[in-house]
Amino acid sequence: MAYAATEPSFQTLSNNAIPAAAGIGLRACHYHAFQSGKPEIAWVEAHSENLFADGGLVHRVMRQVRQEYPLSLHGVSLSLGSADPINMDYLHKLRQVITRYEPGLVSEHLCWVSSRGRYLHDLLPIPYTEAMLRHVSDRIDQVQNFLKRPILIENVSAYLQFATEQMPEWAFLNALVRNTGCGLLLDINNLYVSSRNLGIRQEEYLANIDGAAVQEIHLAGFSVENALGQDILIDTHSQPVWPEVWSLYGQSLQVLGRKVPTLIEWDANIPPIERLLHEANTAEQVLEEMP
């Protein structure tokens, strides 16, 4: 059964809708900034798994944050592309967190994280074949049925290319939207990284992606590393957003033709919150140029 994003019973509550403005990811090193003040930002995103804790500081902070900001939840371990059955223990915890904090959006990645019950805690690529499309569509259906709401699916960075014949990533994502009624989270940094690493054509991607389904955008900084003598872009979330990615972000908004909620992610070498807010402000300026 497919869920249309407009299905009335799954409409988000009006007080927690994610605005078409810039947000930042909530990280432990910035908890104090949110406890002692009210950073100027339109919305925040938290990693779903961090809220799986039974108690403690994260929930104290989140209760306060949720009262002051719209919240989206972003998962990294659902392992939608894995051959394993969906981890129901994980899904129950995710549903508890959703019930508790009523996020405006819930998102996950188009990837696998675990195999035969063992988690690698990394966002690993899947081949874009018809068989995989059926597999992932079925699992998104299962998750959305269980959570009783649509989720957003995010494109990940890739550092390998499969030998099997595949459809383009945008075609795979569009088919997931058609099959399941899920939305899309377009990670512009991941698109840039994959395009530079594997030669994916950015213009073709943006021209063909189902723009109406894109409900959120992610921006982050990649690193350039050298592996066995070859330069490769790695999605490290450890730096400011690169100029090339800002430019691709502007292009993407032009193609989408509207403002889209945009998140600045920073997960390694995390700077003081002021620096993060500065990045968000840059995104806000790009958004404000849109009609």
């Binding site: 063992r118 805690h121 099997t164 594997l198 490769i232």
Partner: protein
């Protein structure tokens, strides 16, 4: 080519090995390059996660040794759930066995203290049947554990520790509010908490405390535990 699903098992085997290669690839990167990148991303991800929990161990053994230990641990100890916070419980035993670290006798105890602190940080806002808050832990060691841990928090300013002169320690860990608190316990109080953590009755805990430290009055432990918000008597 293998099915996408047997491919995932091959991928996992390749990245967790020293020299294996991810099969069935094409395109601009050789299999060796792609494997090296994913292997590094995955193992460094585990290293970063373990470093967030075991910061004192990181300081005590240094970056290179910690990385070697973390990679070996990640390869040999599967993470069995999607929550990274749940991974790392067996590091104390691992440090005690690994050739790089087993000669540093106090390391496993420091790791036990750090895991206990990590658990306390995430514990439920509830009280156990014993009456103790779910965050309460007791780590006992033949080494001056709290002094070692405190040294790691301020390595530049603290003076060197004389491990032999300082002797053993019993560190009490709890998180009544936001912050994880630690302090060293005298013999009697340690016996009192140990008894309660072993699900004994208050009466048994009182006897154990007096046996360990004759002449003390365990009623003061109860009063201070209630005052600190880490004990609620059960009806």
């Amino acid at each position: 080519m293998s099915t996408p699903f047997s491919w995932q098992a091959s991928f996992m085997e390749a990245v967790l090995s020293e020299g294996g290669l991810i099969p069935d690839l094409d395109g601009p990167f050789s299999s060796a390059v792609s494997t090296a990148v994913y292997r590094n991303n995955i193992l460094e991800g585990f290293t970063e996660g373990l470093k967030n929990i075991y910061g004192a161990i990181f300081l005590l053994i240094g970056e290179d040794c910690f990385r070697a230990i973390a990679h070996a641990y990640a390869r040999s100890t599967p993470s069995l759930c999607g929550d990274r916070n749940a991974y790392g419980a067996r590091m104390p035993e691992f440090l005690g066995m690994h050739p790089l670290t087993r000669s540093i006798a106090y390391l496993a105890d420091v790791a036990r203290l750090e895991w206990a602190s990590h658990e306390a940080y995430l514990a439920a806002e509830e009280f156990m049947d014993s009456g103790l808050h779910t965050s309460v832990r007791l780590i006992e060691s033949d080494y001056p554990l709290l002094a070692l841990w405190q040294f790691c928090q301020h390595p530049e300013t603290d003076s060197p520790l004389d491990l032999d002169a300082l002797g053993g320690d019993r560190v009490f860990i709890c998180r009544p509010q936001e912050e994880v608190l630690m302090r060293s316990l005298p013999m009697g109080e340690a016996s009192w908490y140990r008894s309660l953590l072993e699900h004994k009755t208050l009466g048994e805990a009182t006897s154990a405390a007096v046996d360990a430290e004759p002449g003390i009055d365990p009623a003061q432990y109860l009063a201070s535990a209630q005052r600190d918000g880490i004990f609620i008597p059960k009806q």
